[in-house]
């Protein structure tokens, strides 16, 4: 009876850890799918789309996660196939310097103007 109880506890723990593992995988999959653009839809991510293309991408992402690929590796794989356009958050490169740095410049310029005006008021 005692052995049976031990086995039962081990079995339950194994089931729980497996469930947790699957849950983590699902979370990662959804996170990636929400960041991939559906190339044949207007303004939809692959996660939201029901198109044939989205269906295939969902299968591929699932397969790549099961193979042990990290989030960045999945993005790299898709970038190699379709270019930067497929990912919603573009990488910092010569084509996206303005996109990434303009808000920062605006913020700094705004800060400088406010600072200058406050100093003048004083």
């Amino acid at each position: 009876m005692k052995t049976l109880k031990i086995f039962l506890v081990i079995f339950l723990l194994m089931g729980f850890s497996q469930q947790k593992f699957n849950g983590n995988d699902n979370e990662l999959k959804n996170k990636i799918l929400k960041n991939i653009r559906c190339l044949i839809c207007q303004g939809q991510s692959v996660y939201d789309s029901e198109s044939d293309f989205a269906f295939s991408i969902k299968l591929i992402v699932n397969e790549k996660i099961k193979e042990g690929m990290s989030e960045d590796q999945v993005y790299k794989f898709l970038r190699e196939k379709y270019g930067d356009w497929i990912i919603y958050a573009p990488k910092l490169n010569k084509n996206t310097y303005v996109l990434w740095l303009l808000p920062l410049l605006l913020f700094l310029a705004g800060g400088a103007i406010i600072n200058k005006n406050l100093i003048f008021k004083k």
Binding site: D52, F53, S56, L59, Y82, G83, V98
Partner: protein, 173 residues
């Protein structure tokens, strides 16, 4: 003097923003694939259309020859339109045509080939569309030209036509 300088800086800044946004407006907001970038041939396993046996891509592209991979489906209307051009390409001895049957009903696909002729050396089955993703395709029909070094050298989105056939013939000469 100071005011003039501030005005000048503001005008330069606004002009800069205007140019950026104007350029952004003129850019198409849809995916436009790059058609002439060299890419390595993906490594994959696929089922053969007639025998249903799984084959490695290394064995499919084993010969030192130019290959054309054409993604098609029996339900795709433009595929019917381009089929005669594929039949024409099939006559060229320096090219081997590989068909990729995309998300199709196999009986309908067999009828399609029976009705219009078979231009392909080999047809592979892509039931869930994942094989097409390996090639970087996002629809049907799409055609890829592969050189003797097993590099994808050209991609044609949409049905091929007389002009594309001539372009392919020139590339494989």
């Amino acid at each position: 003097m100071k005011n003039k300088l501030s005005l000048f800086v503001v005008i330069i800044f606004l002009s800069f923003c205007f140019v950026i946004f104007y350029k952004g407006l003129n850019k198409p907001n849809t995916y436009t694939p790059k058609t002439s970038i060299e890419k390595n041939l993906p490594i994959f396993k696929a089922k053969d259309f007639s025998s249903n046996i799984s084959i490695d891509s290394v064995n499919i592209f084993a010969e030192e020859s130019y290959y054309i991979v054409n993604i098609w489906a029996s339900w795709c209307v433009p595929c019917r339109k381009e089929h005669s051009f594929l039949m024409e390409l099939n006559k060229n001895k320096s090219i081997k045509l590989i068909g990729l049957n995309y998300r199709d009903n196999l009986n309908n696909a067999k009828k399609f080939i029976y009705e219009l002729g078979n231009p392909y050396t080999q047809i592979l089955i892509d039931l869930d569309g994942t094989l097409s993703v390996e090639f970087g395709a996002y629809g049907v029909p799409e055609t890829f030209l592969i050189d003797k070094n097993k590099k994808i050298i050209k991609k044609f989105v949409g049905p091929i036509n007389k002009k594309i056939v001539e372009e392919i013939k020139l590339a494989v000469k």
